[in-house]
Symmetry: C2
Subunit: 213 residues, 2 copies
DNA sequence: TAGATTGTTAATCGATTAACAATC
DNA sequence: TAGATTGTTAATCGATTAACAATC
C-alpha cells in the first residue's frame, strides 16, 4: 500500500465505498470488483479502480477484491482503527446531538465531553457523556492531550472559543459556526456550514428546473 | 452577471466570502477588494477575483467592490432571497437540532416540520416547529409542494425513508445517514457523513505530524 | 499622471477519462 | 484457452495560477 499523494477527492470517495460495502449485509459477496461498486454508486469505474489501487494491493484480475479484506483495508487507511479524542464547545441542540451521536465510534472518533458557558446544562449526563463548565476546558485538553475541537457555539462567540481552544493545545478544529476563523499557521480548520450546504442544494434544484424550461 | 458554468469549487467558496463580509460588523469598509478578502481567507487573490467576477459586475479598478452591494449580489446569486421549504424525517437529537436551528433562515431555507415514527416525540412544539407522525408526511409534501427532504434517521431506515420521500414528490435529498441511497435518475442527493468528516480531519492531523517526524 | 485594482488571455497543474497491457 | 478484471500509461478536461492589458 502506497500512501503518498492521495488526492482530496479520493479521500472523500473512500468512505462512500466503505459505506456501500458495509451496507450489503447478507448480500455481501466474498469478492467485489471496482466495476460493481462504481455501478452501485454511479461513479466512473476507472475512478473507483484507481482509488482502490491507492489503498489496497490485494485486487486480483478476474476475481476482484476480497470484500472483507477491502473493508478492513479501507478502515485501516482512513484511521478508523486507532481511536482519536475530540471535545465539543457549545452544548446547544447541535452540540448535544453531536455529543451523543453513536456513529463517531465506527470511524474511530471518541467525543470526550462537551463544554458550555450555561451552568444550567452542565453536569448533566448525556448517555454517559458529560457537559462541563468552560473553566474545565483547558485543564482537560492538556491532561488528556485532546487535539481536536468542535465548535458548536453561536457565530459571535466562535472566534473567541477558537482562540481558547488553540491556547489549550487543540490542533484541528471542526467549525459549525458560519464564520471564517482566523488561526495561526499550522492549525487545521474544517468548516461545516450546514445552512449554506442546504441552500446550495436548493439552488442546484432550482437551476435544474430552470434548465428544463 | 453571467450565470453559466460556475464551477463547483466556486459555489463552495462564495458562502465563505459572504460570511467574511457579514462578520466585519462595525469595521465594514464602504469598498472591499478581492485582494483583501483573499488575504483574510488565505486564498489566492486571482481565485477570489474570478469568483467575484462570476457573480458581480460592479467591481471598479482602484476602488474594488461596494461591500454592501457585493453582499446583496452574493445573497441573490446563492438564492438566499427566495425562501425554499424543506422537511426533516427523523426527530432524534440531530433532527431536532436541525429543526430548531435558526441559521437556515439567513440562507433562505425554511424547515417546515419534522416527522418521526415515535408517536411520543410527535405533536411536541419546538420553537414553533412541529414534529408530526409519519402518516402525515406525504399529504403535507404534496399540499405544500415541498421539494427538499432531509434524512436524519438511522442508517437501516434511510433507504426506505428515501423511497417514501420520492413517492411524496421530493426532488432533492440531504442525507445524514451513512449509507449510499439508491435513487431514480433526476433526484438530487447530497450526502453529509458527519462521522466520516471528523475522521478525515483526524487523519489529516495525524498525517501532518507523521510528515514532521 | 501614477498606482491600485479589475478583468482577460495564456500557461500550468491536477484530476478524470480513455486506451491498452498484464494476469488469474 | 478465453474472458473478466486489475493496473498502467497516455489523452483529455477543468481548475488554478501567472502574466498582462484596461481603467478609474
Amino acid at each position: 500500500m502506497v500512501n503518498r499523494s492521495i488526492s482530496k477527492q479520493t479521500l472523500l470517495r473512500l468512505p462512500l465505498y466503505l459505506n456501500y460495502m458495509k451496507q450489503l449485509g447478507e448480500n455481501t459477496p466474498e469478492h467485489i470488483s471496482a466495476t460493481t461498486i462504481a455501478e452501485a454508486l454511479r461513479l466512473n469505474h476507472v475512478v473507483v479502480r484507481k482509488d482502490l489501487a491507492a489503498v489496497s494491493s490485494a485486487g486480483k484480475p478476474k476475481v476482484g477484491y476480497n470484500t472483507e479484506a477491502l473493508i478492513a483495508e479501507l478502515e485501516e487507511f482512513l484511521g478508523y482503527n486507532d481511536v482519536d479524542d475530540a471535545i465539543i464547545v457549545g452544548a446547544g441542540k447541535l452540540g448535544k446531538a453531536l455529543l451523543t451521536y453513536g456513529g463517531f465510534k465506527d470511524c474511530g472518533m471518541n467525543i470526550v465531553a462537551a463544554f458550555d458557558i450555561d451552568e444550567e446544562v452542565c453536569e448533566e449526563d448525556y448517555s454517559g457523556k458529560r457537559i462541563l463548565t468552560m473553566d474545565k476546558l483547558m485543564d482537560l485538553c492538556e491532561r488528556m492531550r485532546v487535539r481536536i475541537g468542535i465548535i458548536a457555539v453561536p457565530a459571535e462567540n466562535a472566534q473567541a472559543i477558537c482562540n481558547l481552544l488553540i491556547e489549550s493545545g487543540i490542533l484541528a478544529i471542526w467549525n459549525f459556526a458560519p464564520v471564517h476563523l482566523d488561526v495561526p499557521e499550522g492549525i487545521l480548520v474544517h468548516n461545516e456550514n450546514l445552512a449554506a450546504s442546504l441552500a446550495l442544494l436548493s439552488k442546484q434544484l432550482k437551476e435544474k428546473f430552470d434548465a428544463n424550461t
